[in-house]
Amino acid sequence: MFLSNNPQLNQHGELHHLLSIEGLPAAILWQILDTAQSFVGVTQREVKKVPLLRGKAIFNLFFEPSTRTRTTFEIAAKRLSADVINLAVNVSSQSKGESVLDTVANLAAMQADMFIVRHGESGAPYLIARHVGEDIHVINAGDGRHAHPTQGLLDVFTIRHYKQDFRNLRVAIVGDILHSRVARSQIHALTTLGVPELRVIGPKTLLPSNVDNLGVHVYHDMAKGLKDVDVIMMLRLQNERMQGSFLPSPQEFFKFYGLTAEKLALAKPDAIVLHPGPMNRGVEIDSDVADGSQSVILPQVTFGIAIRMAVMSILAGN
């Protein structure tokens, strides 16, 4: 049994690692959002850099391949003037090779200041955070099905940009919640920030048991679930994480849970549509919605850089 204190916070209650949105006080979420706002300004300037993390070594430790997330973290780190080293660790089931902890220990010996970790197993960043020195910060870039905190943060930042006040909103998360670390992070962020009504929409096979314990209303009928919502957050169908048959086919999924213009019309007329990307067009979302006027999918990407800059800055300064 572990210590009951939150491994993410130091003894002053400041953010020391970012592993999950669950367990973070609202004040810290606001701090990240507000700091990110300033960085949005920086990304719109001619010189998009600030010298904040000059001389710091940030290691992208990706045990699961990803170009998008890794690239945005790299851009964010470079805009803070940090040095970035990318490590794509090859994990084949046949040859385990060096253990996670051995890899981390070797890198820490190379004067790493920050690890950005993506791993296929839930909880891996916690194991790493427990074993690094006091001065090293760990950011979870996605662990198994558990959490993707920077994605959750950039999503709520996007919502705040367009809708301002969380306390008036009806938000729906649609799709493969069972396998989604993004969904779990979104749920924790939205409930912490005070969204009064949060809905999850999906077939029974894609919703985890006891999901209502997280503070959400469950819908299996998308038409009912989308009625009068202000924000629709679509999830990617996690093909590679599915073992066994959770769905008969992507086509059937699209018929009942894909976002088309028709279904979008059931929401409020000024509802916004988010998607963490990459999109499976025609599986979870129709092209005309993805490219339409209510889609904020591209701004999400820009905001993602600012959020990651904010997280890295706050951690490095604590």
Partner: protein
């Protein structure tokens, strides 16, 4: 060697004794209780003032990791751990490498164990060759070599027809069959109980029905064949309910739970503690409470350690990748005492679940203190607190969910066949 144990509180669950009584040992047996035989002169006297004197513990599931898993633990270290834990008789499951499916392997294990002169080892033989679930083993030959029962350990047994035949065959000779109720398909890929913790932590889940569906199959086949079945490591409220009903219907079944499930729940996983990666998984608090109640009312016959030493490298991994299991043999006593105390049961009743009751399940003459019985005795200090830490454990496995926790109840002496095999200051 004549040993006189004096001033101790004698607790013998089988006879219901709980009194200040001395024990007199000679030639490896208990020769008298209460008053010495005429002309008895002890070679050694053990002063058990303030201590409890009870039968040596009988542990139904202890993995000695030999043959095949010596990097995790060895026979020597785990038998030392057993002695330190007050265990004088233990059953080991067949999931060694190679599995215990041949008489030669069983004989070798018994031979090696006997030479160590510590606890009695009762091997459980493999039910199928290689534990592959396709061919029956030579159960009669294996019984001659020393097996007391047959099990499939945690290996999947998906061919129900084969299971039926195995039970029929075993029933022919009245060999007991030990089965862990887990449906392979429903448990596939899962690492944690299908409940709110797995949902929050994003862990692949094993639903309760993985246990109850398998239990249902087993119980119906028991009714069909009349085989004697012992159900290993129950984990759910619904599961123990089914066993309770089966017993009421007169089926010849018994069952056990592991110490971890008597005390812990899914909540103890905390921030992905790999020490809580156990098989079966730790379930909800409601399940745990039902298991504790079933242990008290006798629906669950025995408490065992499910001792599974795992090396550090295999445990210090992300939760889902960590090797399952925990070291437990040295915690069997204190955790039994803890359960009994918390359930407000008399000490004798609590100790029954780790002495006379598991002895009955195993079908061995052990777990009791009567004149004429083998002097297999555990003498412990019921009030002594100790911290569960790597250096306090003799097992090579240092991974347990209880690491860092203070527990109450420490063995002072362990005797097997009248020899002191363990003593502490």
């Amino acid at each position: 060697m004549k040993i006189h144990i004096k001033n101790g509180r004698l607790i013998d669950p089988a006879s219901g004794t709980d009194a200040q009584q001395d024990v007199y040992i000679a030639a490896g047996k208990i020769v008298a209780i209460g008053a010495p035989p005429q002309g008895y002169h002890a070679n050694r006297t053990l002063d058990a003032s303030g201590l409890v004197v009870c039968p040596g513990l009988v542990d139904l599931a202890v993995r000695l990791r030999e043959p095949g898993f010596e990097y995790m633990a060895t026979l020597e270290s785990e038998m030392d751990a057993a002695a330190a834990g007050g265990v004088t008789s233990l059953a080991c499951p067949p999931d060694t490498d190679p599995p215990l499916d041949e008489p030669g392997l069983v004989e070798m294990l018994k031979f090696r164990a006997r030479n160590l002169n510590q606890a009695h080892v009762y091997p459980i033989g493999a039910l199928t060759v290689g534990l592959k679930g396709t061919h029956l083993t030579e159960m009669a030959e294996l019984t001659d070599a020393g097996c007391v029962a047959f099990s499939h350990a945690d290996a999947p047994l998906t061919d129900t027809q084969l299971l039926l035949r195995a039970l029929q065959y075993a029933a022919t000779f009245d060999f007991p069959v030990w089965l862990r109720p887990q449906d392979a398909g429903l448990a596939r890929g899962g690492v944690a109980h299908d409940g709110q913790v797995a949902t929050r932590l994003g862990l692949a889940a094993i639903p309760v029905c993985a246990e109850t569906v398998a239990l249902s199959t087993i119980l119906l086949l028991v009714r069909e064949t009349g085989a004697r079945v012992h159900l290993c490591r129950l984990s759910s409220a619904e599961g123990v309910d089914m066993v309770r009903q089966a017993k009421q219907l007169g089926l010849k079944v018994s069952c056990d739970i592991a110490i971890h499930h008597a005390h812990l729940s899914e909540m103890d996983i905390g921030y992905f503690d790999p020490n809580c990666n156990l098989t079966p998984p730790l379930r909800s608090q409601r399940d745990r409470d039902a298991l504790r109640a079933a242990l008290a009312d006798g629906t669950v016959d025995a408490l065992c350690s499910d001792h599974a030493p795992v090396d550090d490298d295999a445990k210090q991994l992300p939760f889902g990748e960590a090797e399952t299991g925990a070291t437990g043999i040295e915690l069997l006593l204190p955790l039994t005492l803890k359960w009994a105390e918390e359930s407000r049961l008399p000490l004798a009743q609590g100790l029954a679940r780790v002495t006379s009751d598991p002895a009955r399940v195993l079908g061995i003459d052990a777990g009791r203190l009567t004149p004429g019985a083998s002097a297999d005795i555990c003498i412990f200090d019921p009030e002594r607190y100790w911290k569960v830490a790597a250096k306090a454990l003799k097992s090579q496995g240092k991974n347990t969910p209880f690491i860092g926790i203070e527990v109450k109840g420490r063995v002072r002496y362990t005797l097997v066949e009248g020899q002191v095999v363990f003593e502490s200051v």
